[in-house]
Amino acid sequence: MKRRRALAARIVGAVALAALAGCAAAPSKDDPFEPMNRALFGVHEVTDQYVMKPAIDAYTAVVPRLVRTGVSNFFNNLDDLYSGINALLQGKPDKAGNDFGRVMLNSFVMGGIFDLASDIGIERGSEDFGQTFGAWGMPQGPYLFVPIFGPTTVRDGAGWGVRIYASLIGFIPDVPVRNSLYGIGAVDIRAQATDAISIADTASLDKYRFIRNAYLQRRRYLLYDGQPPPEKDDE
């Protein structure tokens, strides 16, 4: 009980600090909700430190690396399927063929826990519903920071909505199995991001801004399939 109250106090403190920092910052055209986002980022940082990070540490300590790779491969294989669907939706049949080829090969071998396709040189695709909406002309919309989930935008968030709604795991009738898979999926994503997060810790002057800039640059790069047009300079 005491610990819970201490955690609550920390969250309130972090939110207050983040909100103050947000008021001081210049508004960015991509991030009109910066004060709110900073507050949510504060919540995220505290929950990440006290809930997600201990879970990841336990996961990496208890589960051997080979098994963790298998878990990543399993979820990556599902992502590859959706990458293929989105490549089709964006009118890129070659990319779709590549993704579906990967899924067929990897699913055939032990249900996707080995990534044989990468071993023989079929690289992973990275299409998703957020990019499909972008390719269809939907504007990016404001940047949003969602605790535990991480950085996103209105467009990418809509993409995730579709992805979760259409998720194969969602069709599993057994609720505990389904929820366990969601849980393991979340832990897997966070575990894979650990190195990137530790870089953001040392590299950033303002971690919130650093993550926002990196996220928006990365999404732009993916939307243009690695060939983004030069950004017009505000200088």
Partner: protein, 209 residues
């Protein structure tokens, strides 16, 4: 006797000078692509073979970076680009200090990541370059088992002492562009000295706010 020895010394010195000169020319003429490949493979071979690096010894990791990696980067240009229009507003003395602090920050960041290298392989994409080009992007991809390939591109410019990298773009995220917004914001709220202080505090180990 003495006379002949002296002559011998003189011709040996001449041979050495010629050899050094040729090496310098060869280095200056090395293509940017070949340079990236040579330096990457040299650094990888060193960190793989070095037990101190593998054990995460920060002093040794920094030594490897300082001697083998960093001479191939143009930190002044990197800092100028990250500063954008504010660079001209800084005095030469501030510019020098900014370059030093930014360099330290980058070294601190990447020395923490260097010993995480395991069984990744690097793929070097063919470079399309015209003979007179002085500014190119060398494209590479880091492939690791069980993960998506990570594209790492180096923006490089030709200098009198060979090609130097002035930006690194990881998976589409440009280092310089990412810092430009952070630098701008620091300067907007505290001026160039404010940015200098933030960088110095960060380098002395203060956590990010």
């Amino acid at each position: 006797m003495m006379q002949r020895m002296r002559q011998g010394f003189r011709s040996a010195a001449a041979v050495c000078a010629i050899a050094l000169f040729t090496a310098a020319v060869a280095q200056a003429q090395e293509s940017p692509e070949a340079l990236v490949k040579r330096v990457s493979e040299d650094v990888i071979a060193t960190i793989k073979a070095d037990p101190l690096v593998q054990a995460g010894n920060q002093a040794r990791i920094r030594e490897v970076m300082e001697t083998r990696l960093l001479p191939n980067f143009d930190f002044a240009r990197m800092t100028a680009l990250a500063m954008g229009k504010n660079w001209r507003a800084a005095t030469p003395e501030q510019q020098q200090r900014l370059t030093d602090e930014f360099r330290t920050l980058l070294v601190r960041t990447y020395s923490g990541a260097l010993n995480k290298y395991r069984d990744e392989t690097i793929e070097y994409k063919p470079l399309r370059m015209n003979p007179g080009d002085t500014d190119v992007t060398v494209r590479t991809a880091v492939l690791k088992p069980g993960g998506a390939p990570v594209q790492i591109d180096y923006s490089m410019a030709k200098s009198p002492s060979g090609w130097k990298a002035y930006d690194v773009i990881v998976g589409g995220v440009s280092l310089v562009t990412n810092y430009r917004d952070e630098f701008n914001e620091q300067i907007r709220s505290g001026g160039v000295d404010g940015l200098l202080k933030t960088l110095a505090d960060k380098n002395r180990g203060a956590p990010a706010k």
